[in-house]
Symmetry: C2
Subunit: 223 residues, 2 copies
DNA sequence: TGTTATACTTGACGCTGATCAACGAAAAGG
DNA sequence: CCTTTTCGTTGATCAGCGTCAAGTATAACA
């Protein structure tokens, strides 16, 4: 659901950016106690962000794929507002915000772009809230699969044949479901011939059917 | 859950701001088809924002009280990303974003402040998503009451004795519940002596108990 | 390579909260 | 003022999904 940076802007930023830090699967990138210094763009691989409550509970707040920017929710505080972990071998670009802020003063275009990214992040989060509050397990999972699909497509990868970077556990947590429910819905979709899934390998056999499952779409066509 | 503007900054902005537009209860402020021009700060009264899906369903995304800024989620598009309605007689300040953007170039402080506000909005929305995905009806309603309470306190109004600006319907929608459930929880809290509620008039009798209902707090103390 | 931890699946059961229905109370509107 | 909506409450019923439990497959690791 997050966002892409335009290649043009990336060019002009190259000098302030720290290129190509590599993180291994499961490796910790920052957490709520880390002083906030930088946003990160995913170059390859993928990461998840989550909030850890005082009680130790985790709430996954997002998955970030190549081209997407992490850390925008942290620009208001001394420390990061969430915890970020690599889901697989992942390479990141680091954008130090102080330098970014200097730059935005010279480049109003860039500033506008930052506003754009942040406000989209708000919208994404509202969309998620909506999904969580109004939709069934099947609808939530269909929506996630479609979101991943379109994000893979944007990266010129197959939109119907990909491998999930995250375990069922994280999917369940992100969508506010139990792992068991996620598992059951996957097999139900499979039995209906909508998808083929073996472990993390997923093939979308009937994208239309998936879109039908999404509630908005159904409402849109049925009335 | 949203945010306050500091008086200092307000002073410096006064010249670009269009003061004191008044809206009546139920009056429409903008919607998803309105071209995006301005953010609005609530001076008095209150408003609700919601997303209307293609299917006509409504999802309330926030309530905004005096001192809070509306429209930050819309800074990425040509039109507003949500629909805003006054919940009661409400007075707003209008901040035209083009002028705001000019100003931010001259005042880096202001720019920083904008980032701050937007990133807090993202965090609020994540908090909401968390509430919706992990918490029971009682926990959600307790959280809302506490949020309203602290926002009233910030405005120097009674934190234990206030009247809800929104109908049960909007509360239910916002929290992802059925109206009936909201009503039942209110009476349950009342029977437990935690609150006193008659229609929209609410009195918090036992704030501690309300905090106990909130799951994080319970987890925090029980382990 | 065997061993253990982690990830995933499947079934049985119960609870929270949605839905349907009906009614009372307050507000709007003529 | 009475009528009509809107709003709020309460009860009965039921289903979606969480929880518990057990078992299988896959990956991590010594």
């Amino acid at each position: 659901m997050p966002l892409a940076i335009e290649e043009n802007d990336l060019d002009r930023l190259e000098d302030i950016v720290q290129q190509g830090k590599i993180y291994n699967r499961g490796e910790h990138i920052f957490d709520q106690s880390t002083p906030f210094k930088s946003c990160f763009a995913v170059k390859s691989g993928s990461i998840k962000t989550s909030i850890i409550t005082e009680g130790g509970e985790e709430q996954v707040t997002g998955f970030f794929m190549p081209g997407e920017l992490v850390g925008l929710d942290s620009m208001s505080g001394e420390t990061y507002a969430c915890t970020a972990k690599a889901l697989e071998r992942t390479s990141l670009c680091e954008f130090p915000v102080d330098k970014l802020q200097e730059l935005t003063i010279k480049l109003p275009e860039l500033q506008h772009h930052m506003y754009h990214l942040m406000s989209q992040e708000i919208q994404n989060s509202h969309q998620l809230a909506m999904l969580l509050s109004k939709n069934t397990a099947e609808e939530r999972i269909a929506a996630l699969l479609l979101s991943l699909s379109s994000r893979f497509r944007r990266r010129r990868m197959s939109a119907t044949n990909f491998s999930l970077p995250m375990p069922r556990n994280d999917i369940a947590n992100f969508l506010g479901l139990a792992v068991e429910t996620v598992s059951r819905v996957f097999t139900r979709f499979q039995n209906q011939g909508i998808i083929r899934a073996k472990g993390r390998e997923v093939e979308l056999l009937d994208v239309e059917a998936l879109q039908m499952v999404t509630r908005d779409f159904a409402k849109q066509t049925c009335r």
